[in-house]
Symmetry: C2
Subunit: 301 residues, 2 copies
């Protein structure tokens, strides 16, 4: 099995994607010394200068399978990174997961204040949708609407926000393995799935290929969340850039808590194999997406 | 001046718009007994069963000037009412304006809890954009993208969220009249302006008419905010459905605080006259929009 061998071309590809995402974010985030510049600063603080840019990488790689222009892919990548950043800012709030540390720095409400953090998240979400609607994102407005419609589903009450709601309820109740999987599907995997689908939407790909990428994203997203929960259990604050073992302390529903470390690891490996299987129709151009799967399940940070 | 005479056809028109908005919201908000149904309930609690539906009325009236189908207008009206509802939910949070009462009922975080209220606001915003992107909103995807792009601007860091940021900062600093006007332009008038422009966008109106409606919305929005601040100063909790004199107690920057009641009233009347002037190109079909101006500056609730 190739999972333990991470191709040496992946690291520079991830670094390049992160750089492109950073540039696009810097260009597309608001800036200036208007009366509300504190809000701009908080949005930039939450979005720039950190993170693995996994979602941006997925958009760029999936888009490249259909020869989408990098400029278009970078805008979509920046949009989903803003959406992801908003979700982290709100998740870290005292009323939610109450986390003081994010990406090795004070979380947004610690660096600014709670009200500013709430507003920064809100404005990041609005900007994410606005960017997708702008003509520079794709010449065909039907493509832009499809991106927005599917992102709304992935981020909203039947997606990420719904998953976070279940997560909060789950702190008080015991969930079954199936329920935890559904939680993680909504909270994490749906947005990751969207990143992969977005490449196909931008490239006006046939639906069979779009579905293959969606399947890849779903399994990768679930594997990623399990790996994240394993890291939360085994990693240090330095490795994680956030407070470790917070989930266990909060009684959060994770597969690690439910199945134990070893069975959770084997579940992640099974999902990883499935994810790679979905890429068969794409041949060699999907090599970096295959490598990413191994990276995700073996990463230390 | 006609401002003191509210046409007797306005009240039933407002009631009809409110009913249409309520029906569209009920249809378009998520519902079901999934694991995250608490989130659906909070979204519905925050959006349904209350409010003047001023924004929905503006969308519907502006759209009718261009013979847009009521079905399309109702979807756009529901979308902006969701966006407005999200902003109220987040504004009422303890970290923001800390208000326990909204539309005569416990505010969302009191009826549910803070975390649920934050998520409900987030999910309402996502749904608002998603609705606009759906094909049922307009057959032309370029129209849908224009709606989304302009709503993103009106709601984001250079619009409503930016205005709320200035409002929070203003509690600590003294603003000039021009600065307060800019705050209210961003916080309130930009979304109201969008409602009027949305009708023109849906109707593919010539830009001169779109600009006329935008001018109307801007002046109406500013007049509305002054009227709101006057009510905050003079109204009772029963009339308002929220806690009165909170703004004054919080040292909020309002024109009432800056100019006094009488000068604030005359400023509102001047803006109202200007708003009505923008409607000249539309003739008799804009009568209800004219009547609304009088209603807004003379209302008691």
């Amino acid at each position: 099995m190739a999972l333990s061998v991470v191709d040496s071309t992946l690291a520079p590809a991830l670094a390049e994607a992160a750089e492109r995402a950073e540039e696009a974010l810097d260009r597309l985030l608001p800036q200036g010394d208007e009366a509300q510049s504190r809000l701009y600063e908080a949005m930039r603080y939450a979005s720039l200068g950190g993170g693995k840019r996994l979602r941006a990488f997925l958009v760029m790689q999936a888009a490249s399978l259909f020869h989408v222009s990098p400029r278009a892919a970078d805008r979509v990548a920046a949009s989903v990174e803003m959406l992801h950043a908003y979700s982290l800012v709100h998740d870290d709030l005292p009323a939610m997961d109450d986390d003081d540390l994010r990406r090795g720095r004070p979380s947004c409400h610690k660096a600014f204040d709670e009200a500013t953090a709430i507003l920064a998240g809100d404005a990041l979400q609005a900007r994410a949708f606005e960017i997708l609607a702008e003509p520079d994102t794709h010449p065909d407005p039907a493509v832009r609407c499809e991106l927005i419609c599917t992102l709304g589903q992935a981020a909203g009450a039947r997606g990420m926000a719904g998953g976070q709601m279940i997560d909060l309820i789950a702190e008080a109740t015991a969930l079954t393995e199936a329920e935890v999987t559904r939680l993680q599907l909504l909270k994490t995997a749906r947005l990751i799935t969207w990143c992969c689908e977005a490449g196909a939407i931008l490239g006006k790909a046939p639906s069979s290929l779009r579905h293959a990428l969606a399947g890849y994203g779903r399994d990768l997203g679930l594997a990623f969340q399990i790996a994240d929960d394993i890291l939360d259990e085994t990693g240090t604050s330095e490795e994680l850039g956030k407070t470790p073992k917070k989930d266990a302390a909060a009684g959060k529903a994770t597969l690690v808590a439910l199945l134990g470390l070893e069975r959770a690891r084997s579940q992640a490996r099974m999902l990883a194999d499935q994810a790679v299987g979905h890429l068969d129709p794409f041949g060699p151009p999907a090599e970096k997406l295959r490598d990413l799967v191994a990276f995700v399940v073996t990463r230390r940070m």
